[in-house]
């Protein structure tokens, strides 16, 4: 017990470093997912048929294959074949981001489709181009409606990021296991990993909940079924 404690204390700086890498991978993954998912959602709702097909194909692929398989496919397969030398953490960030893009596109698409068509028509009638209506009317509303789903996606991506361990990225999971195998304190270090993930989930979800409150509009999003 005493020994476990000493090991943990001694490992703190090392584990915090891993936490930083995990956070970087998750934040990077969420942002890549946002950059991919938002345009894909818009394309799926408003785009021409070939584009819609392309988006559906992308979503179908990235939702249909386990993250672990995707990590191997890209890191040891595609990136190597392309002669692209990226470190494990960067590779994991990109793969997590691409997969998250598929999920995020469906979150945003659901929000966009839940908006009344009438507001778009009203914007058109005022002389908005479709693009202006999407940017000024549709997306600000869809983004607000998507925040709960986005928060959920964050908590999933955070946990998926532990898989980067198998590529050799030195994130939380890798570092706790590294210390564990050298000190034989498996229980203590696995619990430490649990604790770190738990705190990161809690902090992220809480931060997004605060953002949700900050951008809330009176009565908006609550009036789902209007008479």
């Amino acid at each position: 017990m005493q020994q476990a404690f000493e090991v943990l204390i001694g490992a703190i700086p090392y584990l915090l470093g891993g936490t930083g890498l995990t956070v970087a991978a998750v934040v990077g993954g969420m942002l890549i997912g946002l950059a991919l998912g938002l345009p894909m959602a818009v394309a799926e709702v408003y785009g021409p048929a070939p584009l819609r097909w392309l988006v559906r194909l992308y979503v179908w692929f990235f939702r249909g294959v386990p993250i672990l398989v995707l990590l191997f496919l890209f890191y040891f397969g595609l990136f190597q074949a392309l002669g692209w030398n990226v470190d494990a953490l960067t590779a994991a960030t990109i793969v997590l981001g691409m997969a998250s893009g598929a999920y995020q596109s469906q979150i945003f698409r659901g929000s966009i489709e839940s908006l009344s068509k009438g507001q778009f028509r009203a914007a058109s009638a005022l002389g908005f181009t479709d693009r202006q209506a999407i940017v000024s009317i549709v997306l600000p509303q869809a983004a607000r409606l998507s925040l709960p789903g986005w928060s959920n996606e964050y908590s999933i991506l955070l946990k998926d990021s532990a898989l980067a361990f198998v590529l050799g990225a030195t994130e939380i999971m890798a570092r706790t296991q590294f210390v564990a195998t050298r000190t034989y304190q498996h229980l203590a270090l696995s619990l430490a990993a649990c604790g770190i993930y738990f705190v990161l989930t809690w902090a992220g979800v809480r931060a997004l909940r605060m953002l949700e409150r900050r951008v809330a509009v009176p009565g908006f999003g609550q009036q789902e079924a209007r008479a």
Binding site: Q119, R121, P218
Partner: protein, 252 residues
Amino acid sequence: MSQTPILAVEALSKTLGGKTILENVSFAVRRGEMKVLIGPSGGGKSTLLQCLNFLHVPDAGTVRLDGQAIDPRARKALYAYRQQVGMIFQDYNLFDHLNALDNVALALRKVKGMPRAVAEERARAELARVGLSDKEKLYPAELSGGQKQRVSIARALAMDPKVMLLDEPTAALDPELIGEVLTVIRGLARDGMTMIMATHQMGFVRSMADEILFMQEGRVIEQGTPEMLLDADSGSRTLDFCTHLAEFEAGA
């Protein structure tokens, strides 16, 4: 009375889902005129109004503003045209994430490219015109139906339209809120606004309409002044319809 009609509609036809919704509709609107569309539900009034600013693209026919034919494929010209034709919807269609002031100011900024301060000043003036100066900070969900419709009128007016299209603007309102909206519309008519309005508010129609178009099954089957069509012994289809409407409302 000017010679060229401000808005001319020639032989408009529209098919939706294999069904003919509008069939060879023609009429002309003079400057400052109030045209009223009356007719049974499903007769094509909403489709006609949406064809006039190309929210629905007609299959055939021409719409002219000030003698100029509008080609909906010329997108730039279409967007410019739509700014000159205000549209009021039955269910308001306010932008739910914006307060009343921003609802009115947004198109001024995004479409007309006005700086925010200028746009807001204009938006305040339009809100004052519809009697909502004290409501500019309120969001759509915080407004009554009548207030929402007045904001939507202010939003349309801010664009300086030459013509306004109103699609049953009071049909979704509780009876006690209809008056405030009709009062605003009367004010517009007095100020010389040209309007095409679908409505079944017969008191309003009798006193305000310059001409009634009675629409049924996608065609204008009667056309004339309220005196001509609503006179007790006119024997018109319009009168027949309105009598039934009155009976229905009295019974309801």
